[in-house]
């Protein structure tokens, strides 16, 4: 928020100015009425009226500026946060990002959680100071006019937050008792939509229909039980402000009649009386605004909690990888490399040294959590290292990556293949690559050939076919280094063998360097050399 303080300051200044203009309008109106009634000859109607109108224009203009500044502040903070999320996803790399949530969750954080911070910065943050400042200005004015009226307002003020806090505690209690059921009922509709196919096959659609209506009704009853308590706080707000205004009016009225003998009451005039009366509602209106923005804060707190891990991890990924891109030795050389996922977590890879030469075929084996994927991510440059040194020949910079589940981008098959080629490839080249990858362009899965649209969740393509698209991408890219992170893990055995056959055929005929993480014996059997993790020892296959 700090770089955007100017918007906050703008909101404060405009809000304070609007408060002063409000006092001016009230004073001019009171003056005009008083003058017209008690000195009709000396008081011209028009000049004070026009002045009051000008002050009103100023007041609402400044309030518009105040709200506009708040919005600017919110948008600026949100823009920063989104830019940071995007950039830090790039630094953090796909392997660690996937640990922290799937793509849909990240998209939700980027769009919805950041959006939820809007009200907090736009309204709550500017209102926090103005809720004290503006009433203080008004109260000071009222005290100067009539301290007893001021005292009446001041005394009613602390009661509002006190009662609101009490009611808040009561609400919390009701909410706690039924939270679980309430959440479940809130999600009931979505749950039944997800289960549509099951319900249809069970011939239970009709009863589910009644079930949905019933659950929604139960949800209503539970929610209202909480709301009936929660809304007491707005009633308290109204009660104290209405009673305070009424008390001021009655005090002023009786004072003007001469019934109140003590304090400043005998000195009351119509001017002071009307002035105080007009200011009384304005005294409460910032408080009311603040109470309305209070739920913005609750929403923002929840969102901030979801976003915090991303902001904190900045330090972990800031460490630049010790890469030497220009050396002339092996294709990739790792010397005494140590990697940690989080700064205080145990090392995932400890003191590992490894040479990879062009044309090598190396499997990375080991149980899950032993650092196979981490090592691949380090070789790809997706992750920084804590200690050690990595040297790479310039050609190791261009690599192809195939993970467990290939992401297919929204668009046509052609768009998805072109991703791998900086210079545009001809349709013939794309079709040849698909054919080589085992997914010929006339396959039923591609009804429109290269034009076939691929939507959400790789619609229309099976897991094996998506992996074949990834393989076609790797072939098209012309990269000499393939980094494969359990590429057949999500496939059934038949599909797996077929894909591995294609993959090995191309890798060996093109002398491509392959590093593949896997834990499956049938896959390991295909490799001449295996790196066993976490030990870090390389063995020739077949000799344990």
């Amino acid at each position: 928020m700090y770089p955007h303080r100017r918007w906050l300051h703008g909101a404060w200044i405009a809000g304070l100015g609007a408060g002063l203009a409000t006092v001016a309008v009230a004073g001019l109106v009171a003056h005009l009425i008083h003058g017209t009634l008690f000195a009709p000859g000396d008081t011209a109607l028009l000049p004070p009226l026009i002045l009051a109108m000008a002050a009103a224009v100023l007041r609402h203009g400044l309030q518009a500026v105040r709200d506009g500044c708040g919005q600017r502040l919110a948008l600026a903070v949100q823009g920063d946060l989104r830019a940071r999320l995007i950039a830090s996803a790039g630094h953090t790399g796909p392997v660690r990002m996937a640990h922290r949530g799937h793509a849909g969750q990240w998209a939700g954080r980027y769009q919805d959680q950041v959006e939820a911070l809007g009200g907090y910065y736009a309204r709550y943050v500017p209102a926090r100071l103005l809720t004290v400042l503006v009433p203080a200005v008004i109260l000071a004015t009222i005290f100067r006019l009539d301290w007893l009226a001021g005292a009446l307002l001041l005394l009613s003020t602390p009661l509002i937050p006190a009662f609101t806090a009490l009611i808040g505690m009561g609400t919390e209690q009701v909410h706690m008792r039924q939270q679980e059921e309430q959440n479940r009922l809130a999600g009931h509709f979505l749950d039944r939509i997800r289960g549509l196919d099951l319900l249809r096959r069970s011939r239970a659609l009709a009863s589910a229909q009644m079930d949905v209506a019933e659950a929604a009704d139960r949800y209503r009853r539970l929610t209202l039980r909480v709301l009936r308590v929660a809304f007491l706080s707005s009633a308290v707000m109204e009660f104290f402000s209405a009673v305070a205004i009424g008390l001021v009016a009655i005090y002023v009225g009786f004072g003007l009649l001469g019934f109140v003998e003590f304090g400043p009451a005998p000195g009351l005039t119509l001017f002071t009386g009307l002035f105080v009366l007009l200011l009384a509602p304005e005294y409460f209106s910032p408080l009311r605004r603040f109470a309305q923005t209070y739920h913005d804060r609750a929403g923002a707190l929840a969102a901030a909690q979801a976003l915090a891990p991303l902001v904190d991890q900045g330090a972990a990924s800031a460490r630049a990888p010790a890469w030497d891109r220009h050396h002339q030795g092996p294709l990739l050389r790792l010397e005494h490399v140590t990697v940690r996922h989080e700064p205080d977590a145990p090392a995932t890879i400890r003191d590992l040294s490894l040479d990879i030469h062009p044309g090598d075929m190396l499997a990375l084996a080991g149980p899950s959590g032993s650092g196979k994927s981490t090592l691949l991510a380090v070789c790809a440059g997706f992750m920084g290292i804590e200690q050690g040194r990595i040297s790479a020949r310039p050609e190791a910079r261009a690599f192809a990556w195939i993970g467990q589940r290939t992401h297919l981008f929204h668009g046509s098959v052609r768009d998805n293949l072109r991703l791998a080629r900086q210079t545009s490839a001809s349709d013939r080249q794309l079709e040849a690559a698909l054919e080589a990858a085992g997914l010929p362009v006339d396959d039923p899965a591609l009804p429109d050939g290269l034009e076939t649209r691929i939507g959400e969740g790789n619609r229309g393509l099976s897991g094996g076919q998506a992996q074949r698209v990834a393989l076609a991408r790797a072939l098209l890219s012309g990269s000499r280094l393939w980094l494969l992170d359990e590429p057949t893990n999500a496939l059934d055995p038949l599909t797996e063998e077929a894909l591995l056959d294609t993959l090995f055929h191309h890798a060996s005929s093109r002398k491509i360097t392959v590093l593949m993480a896997t834990h499956q014996p049938n896959v390991l059997a295909r490799f001449p050399r295996i790196l066993h993790l976490p030990a870090g020892s390389v063995r020739e296959n077949g000799r344990d």
Binding site: F189, L196, R201, S234, G253, L257, L494
Partner: protein, 553 residues
């Protein structure tokens, strides 16, 4: 506007609650205006009386009125909040029921679209937007009109016609601004919602395809594109908020200026002796008090465009009138008498399956399901096995050829009869967030607990559950997450066996089960399958009895 007509039918059930909430809102505002105006009248009158300019003044009636206004204001505010939310939640219940009913009536192939998680989320979100329209948009409008009419009536009673005209003119201008805002706001609102969807797609590609973007050097292009989208979206939001803010402050200014004009006019009448001074103050404060009622209107109506976009999507998904309440006999369990044609023969003749007639995935299929001889289908994934089972279950129309169930073609059986004959366990396990018993009894409310336990024993789950101290009344959690993957799969298997249908289709029934469990499950399942006509799709056909017929795709 058809969207509004659609909304009216949805809100019909909560009409009385809405009307009560509107009245209470008008009363809240009325009491607020009354409090201020009456106080002004009282102070002015007492000032005159104190100076000896007013001879007789009843001080008790107005001060009682002030107290009453303060109390009415409090009570009405509370009532308006509670009643308004009662209406909102009633509408929500109705919307959910109606949307679900409308979706349930869609043919199976149209429901397929709803398997997408994004669409499910959007549908739920849309419904949640719609329920608040009466509270945020229509309610304030109706209450404001009521408050204005009462104020104008008072003005007519107390002063020359000019005063009422001033009030009505101000209100008319505000309402006109609200209507203009509603019209003008539709397009930007729609654009905002659509850009949000486009941005979501780009984000899914960015976060999901991060590895490929890094590997092939496209990271910064994508980041730049996302930044541009975020900036464009921020500009759209800013211009929306600007309109809302300007409208709110503009209306407040308009009303304040009207109140000052009223003051000038009334003081002028007072000097001419037409009205008294307290009444002059009362009318000015009355006009000023309308601020609360009028200020929010144009902004709320400007944002109606976003809600109408949600209505349009909902209408496209769930068109027409709300469904009639389901007849009880639809939900009745199958009785032996309904058990279909005497021979539940399933014959497949020259069948082609797939999604696109130009590119069938499987062609020229020809087989008959024999009782006691389940058909085992194997083959690599992506060869259309699941597609074939969907077609056999009647959920996907065949591209060509014929499937006969008994003496009629499969498609000619009404849906609820078809599922009485055919039990279908798809590849993905789906469980409802409810109790274990609820999930097992779906569509078979007649089953007793003993039968349920027997089925759980058959799939080798009964002992495991008892050991964990769990029973039929324990919840399985959202999407079955309180069970392990293998347990959830076996619950689904038990569900299938309890349906006891003469034809059974099973897609990868053992996925997620380890070898021991699979052996145990097979013990119960093999005789069950041999007692009916069945198709079983599996990657591991070797584990099934050798004499069952096989088909490799």
């Amino acid at each position: 506007m058809t969207e509004w007509r659609y909304l009216r039918t949805l809100y019909r059930g909560a009409r009385l609650w809405n009307a009560a909430a509107y009245l209470l809102l008008a009363l809240t505002w009325g009491a607020g205006i009354g409090l201020l105006a009456l106080s002004g009248w009282f102070i002015t009158a007492t000032a005159l009386a104190g100076a000896g300019l007013l001879l007789a003044l009843d001080i008790f009636t107005p001060s009682a009125g002030i107290r009453a206004a303060a109390i009415v204001r409090t009570v009405a505010r509370y009532g308006e909040r509670v009643v308004g939310h009662e209406a909102v939640l009633r509408i929500l219940a109705r919307l959910r029921g109606h949307a679900f009913a409308a979706i349930a009536r869609l043919p199976a192939e149209h429901q397929r679209a709803l398997r997408s998680g994004d669409l499910q989320q959007r549908l739920t979100g849309d419904i949640d937007t719609l329920d608040a329209i009466p509270l945020r948009v229509t309610g304030p409008m109706v209450a404001a009109v009521l408050a204005v009419l009462v104020a104008a009536a008072l003005a007519i009673a107390l002063a020359p016609a000019g005063a009422a005209l001033l009030i009505l003119g101000t209100a008319a201008m505000t309402l006109a601004a609200a209507m203009a805002a509603a019209r003008q706001g539709r397009k930007p609102g729609r654009e905002l919602v659509r850009a949000h969807t486009r941005e979501r797609i780009a984000l899914l590609d960015y976060f999901g395809g991060l590895a490929d973007l890094l590997a092939y050097g496209h990271l910064s292009d994508h980041q730049d594109a996302l930044h541009r989208q975020a900036q464009a979206q921020a500009r759209r939001r800013l211009s929306r908020e600007r309109v809302v803010i300007l409208a709110e402050q503009g209306v407040q200014l308009l009303v304040t200026l009207a109140a000052l004009a009223m003051l000038g006019l009334c003081l002028h009448w007072y000097l001419q002796g037409v009205i008294s001074a307290p009444v002059a103050v009362l009318l000015s404060l009355l006009t000023l008090g309308l601020n609360e009622a009028l200020a929010g209107l144009p902004g709320a109506w400007w944002q109606v465009g976003e809600s109408l976009e949600a209505v349009r999507r909902l209408q496209a998904l769930a068109p027409g009138e709300p469904a009639p309440t389901p007849r009880p006999e639809d939900a009745r369990p199958p009785s032996p008498a309904d058990h279909g044609p005497p021979e539940h023969q399933v014959r497949v003749h020259r069948l082609a399956v797939g999604f696109d007639p130009r590119r069938p995935i499987l062609e020229d299929l020809e087989f008959t399901l024999e009782p006691g001889r389940p058909l085992v289908i194997d083959g690599a994934s992506g060869r259309g096995k699941s597609c074939l089972l969907d077609t056999l279950a009647g959920e996907l129309p065949p591209l060509s050829g014929d499937i006969r169930l008994g003496d009629r073609s499969l498609a000619s059986w009404p849906e609820h009869v078809r599922y009485q004959y055919i039990g279908y366990l798809p590849q993905e396990t789906v469980l409802l967030d409810d109790t274990l018993a609820f999930n097992l009894r779906l569509g078979r409310a007649d089953l007793d607990d003993r039968t349920l336990w027997a089925a759980l024993r058959q799939v080798g789950l009964a002992d495991a559950l008892r050991d964990q101290g769990r029973g039929l009344d324990d919840r399985v959690g959202e999407q079955g997450h309180r069970l392990s993957g293998g347990q959830a799969r076996r619950v689904a298997l038990a569900w299938l066996m309890l349906r006891d249908s003469p034809v059974a289709l099973l897609d990868e029934p053992f996925s997620g089960l380890d070898a021991d469990t699979e052996t145990r499950v097979l013990e119960g399942l093999v005789p069950w399958l041999e007692a009916r006509r069945a198709v079983i799709v599996t990657h591991a056909p070797a584990r099934l009895p050798g004499h069952w017929p096989r088909m490799t795709l």
